[in-house]
């Protein structure tokens, strides 16, 4: 029971981990990207569209499908879709100096609209009666377990039974924290976010760093959408099912204090909180609705505590949300 609960929490937490790792990279460059929910949505639907096309090309037959291609195609589609959204965002905010919050919210509107529209169009093509697309074959490739996971009892279930996107999320988060803290690129990126004018004077290409950071961040966030569809939902896409996970990913950034490694633990904790209502005995449906607000309440409490403590290393990048215009220094 407890093992099952933890595994479920991890499964629920991984999309948030992808989203917040991506957002941390973007925020470190000084950009508060509120478009992440829309970008994750686009990542998910691009992956779905990619695997839909591939499944149809193989005549919907599992025997014809190449496992490598079945994974690679949705993976690349998800990255491509979310990078395009990231490019739109960074073009408007970096090159055209548009307001970041406004652009981000517009990107979210656009992304969710695109996702629902494409999703509904694909559902139309399949002519199925249910309002969803089932890509269970592709999903089965995504959630292939390690071969010896079953034989190791609770240890195997807890650590080895997950889909490969889960491990990838953790690996990416660890790599990103390493890059941010220990490498020259990370140092440059952080200086761009803290004080772009100084970074510029030191010879760092601020515009390039901001573009790359936003696009890489978007790509990682888009994978979160893909993991949600392929691993959590078993390859079933239905409109609006992704819900508010994008906003929770942004909240997780603050929870993790801009550190991707802490975001790993944080995302599993959020996953557990989202799921707690299903595992506490004797709750009526109405009390369950109240329990679903737990992750949001916890986020608010964390927000308040971090703002009260005012530790220097726990503060957001100094020029977060501010556009940089070289001639205005």
């Amino acid at each position: 029971m407890i093992i099952q609960f933890i595994c479920r929490a991890i499964l629920l937490g991984v999309p948030l981990l992808y989203g917040s790792t991506g957002e941390i990279i973007t925020e470190k460059s000084g950009h508060l990207n509120l478009g992440i929910p829309g970008i994750m949505y686009v990542g998910a639907i691009s992956g779905v569209a990619g695997s839909f096309i591939y499944e149809n090309a193989c005549g919907n037959d599992l025997a014809n499908m190449n496992p490598v291609l079945a994974v690679i195609i949705p993976f690349l589609c998800a990255i491509a879709g979310s990078v395009i959204m990231g490019l739109i965002y960074s073009f408007l905010t970096v090159s055209l100096h548009a307001n970041q919050n406004v652009t981000g919210l517009a990107i979210t509107t656009l992304g969710i609209g695109l996702g629902n529209f494409l999703g509904a169009s694909l559902i139309n093509i399949t002519e199925s009666e249910l309002p969803s697309i089932a890509l269970t074959k592709t999903s089965s490739f995504f959630s292939t377990q390690l071969p010896f996971a079953d034989k190791l009892g609770w240890f195997g279930e807890l650590f080895l039974s997950h889909d490969f996107l889960t491990y990838l999320a953790i690996v990416i988060a660890i790599i990103v924290s390493f890059v941010l803290k220990r490498t020259r690129v990370g140092l440059n990126l952080r200086s761009v976010g803290e004080n772009p004018a100084t970074a510029d004077a030191a010879g760092i290409n601020v515009i390039r760093y901001r573009y790359v950071a936003t696009c890489v961040g978007s790509a990682i966030a888009g994978l979160g959408g893909l993991q949600y569809v392929m691993a959590y939902a078993n390859g079933v896409w239905s409109n609006n099912a992704f819900g508010d996970r994008g906003w929770m990913a942004i909240a997780l950034v603050i929870f993790a204090l801009w550190n991707p490694s802490s975001a790993i633990i944080g995302s599993f904790l959020f996953g557990a909180l989202c799921n707690a209502n299903n595992y506490i005995q004797g709750l009526g449906t109405e009390t369950q609705e109240l329990f679903k607000m737990l992750p949001y309440v916890v986020t608010i409490v964390v927000l308040i505590i971090t703002s009260m403590r005012k530790k220097r290393e726990h503060q957001p990048p100094q020029s977060l949300g501010l556009p940089y215009f070289r001639e205005e220094r």
Partner: protein, 370 residues
């Protein structure tokens, strides 16, 4: 001459210069041109997807918004005005907060709480109170509910400088869950509350939405005067420009933040009340339908000027309803209109660049020759 040739290859093709203030009419010319391009793009995109001709597309859009206006029936027009009124009211509510650089992303939650207060009064006091007393109770409680929901993040912002964007966002979801809880309890597990007959706003001349529209029109004028001519409105803009300046001239910044969010939340609460008592007579978690975010964009595009906001909301709601109709007639998903609205808003956000900056191209020898 030789020297300039040496450094020439390092000079970029163009560079961006901040403009001195552009005359208002020129700025508006750019914005109008963008809107026009946007409308052309809407037609072309719809044409490409639905395979209708450009003219037909616009005919469907107009019929979707205005219906049988030309045959003398104005039901659709009133519905259009009502939709504008709701979005506009949310945008107006957010404006004082934005002018203060307080990112209130919680309009949705504040409106939901206002709506909750209204429906609570309608159900529980509907039979006990006389009609005028009931209406007054509804107005007062929903204003208080919205204001309380708005002022909680403001207090923490004022005391500890807590990030308000995320705080208000999270408050949305808490409000949604409270509504889900209440709907479950009140609907007896069916997740639906049947329309309540008590405490509905009166219909004026056969028109249910008249009260809503007039209320929002009044709020528009009030907000214009409040921001432009009142002392409090001036304090808001000083705090928004620079908190240090505000402190220097003796403005109590914390007080202004809390007071402004009380107003902002209260107006969101009013919107919730208009939706519940003036339109749906019921409540569900999708009452506001994500319009809180669109309202943020409207407030921004309206340059914090209530009258420009009227125009912007009219355009956006026109596109939203009209394109939804286009999608409907060609059996497409109604999210098509969300995409269109998103694109047009992004274009409008982008066009501000050309108002505030100008691009200077390099004057190379080739250009001189040509």
């Amino acid at each position: 001459m030789a020297k300039s040739n040496e450094i020439k290859h390092r000079e970029p093709l163009f560079h961006v210069v901040k403009r001195d203030d552009m005359p208002q009419w020129q700025a508006w010319l750019i914005r109008c041109a963008t809107i026009l391009i946007g409308f052309l793009l809407v037609g072309i995109l719809s044409m490409a997807i639905t395979e209708e001709s450009f003219g037909d597309t616009y005919q469907i859009i107009f019929s979707g918004v205005f219906g049988r206006l030309f045959e003398g029936r104005t039901t659709m027009l009133w519905k259009y005005l009502q939709e504008i009124a709701i979005l506009l009211c949310l945008a107006l509510a957010l404006t004082p907060a934005f002018k203060m650089k307080f990112w209130n992303c919680g309009a949705e939650g504040q409106a939901l709480m206002g709506g909750l207060a209204s429906i609570f009064c309608m159900i529980n006091f509907g039979e006990k109170l006389s009609y005028p007393a009931l209406i007054i109770t509804i107005i007062v409680t929903s204003i208080i509910a919205g204001a309380v929901w708005g002022v909680i993040p403001a207090v923490f912002k004022a005391l500890f400088n807590t990030n308000e964007t995320l705080f208000t966002l999270m408050m949305n979801y808490i409000a949604t869950q409270i509504i889900a809880y209440y709907v479950y309890i009140e609907g007896g597990g069916s997740n639906v509350i049947n329309p309540v007959a008590y405490g509905n706003f009166p219909a004026v001349g056969n028109n249910d939405y008249f009260v809503n529209i007039v209320t929002v029109a009044a709020i528009t004028v009030f907000m214009y005067i409040y921001l432009k001519y009142s002392k409090q409105g001036y304090e808001i803009s000083v705090v928004g420009e620079s908190q240090n300046t505000a402190r220097y001239v003796g403005i109590n910044v914390k007080k202004v933040i809390i007071r402004t969010m009380l107003i902002s939340g209260a107006l969101c609460g009013v919107t919730g009340m208009l939706l519940v008592a003036g339109k749906d007579h019921s409540i569900n978690t999708n009452l506001v339908g994500g319009q809180g975010f669109t309202a943020i964009l409207m407030s921004w595009l309206g340059q914090f000027n209530p009258f420009i906001m009227v125009v912007m909301t009219a355009i956006v709601v026109f596109l939203r309803i009209g394109v939804a109709k286009v999608a409907d007639t060609s059996h497409l998903n109604s999210s098509f209109s969300e995409i269109i609205v998103g694109i047009v808003i992004l274009m409008l956000v982008g066009c501000e660049f050309f108002i505030h900056y100008s691009i200077k191209f390099r004057h190379s020898k080739k250009e001189v020759k040509a």
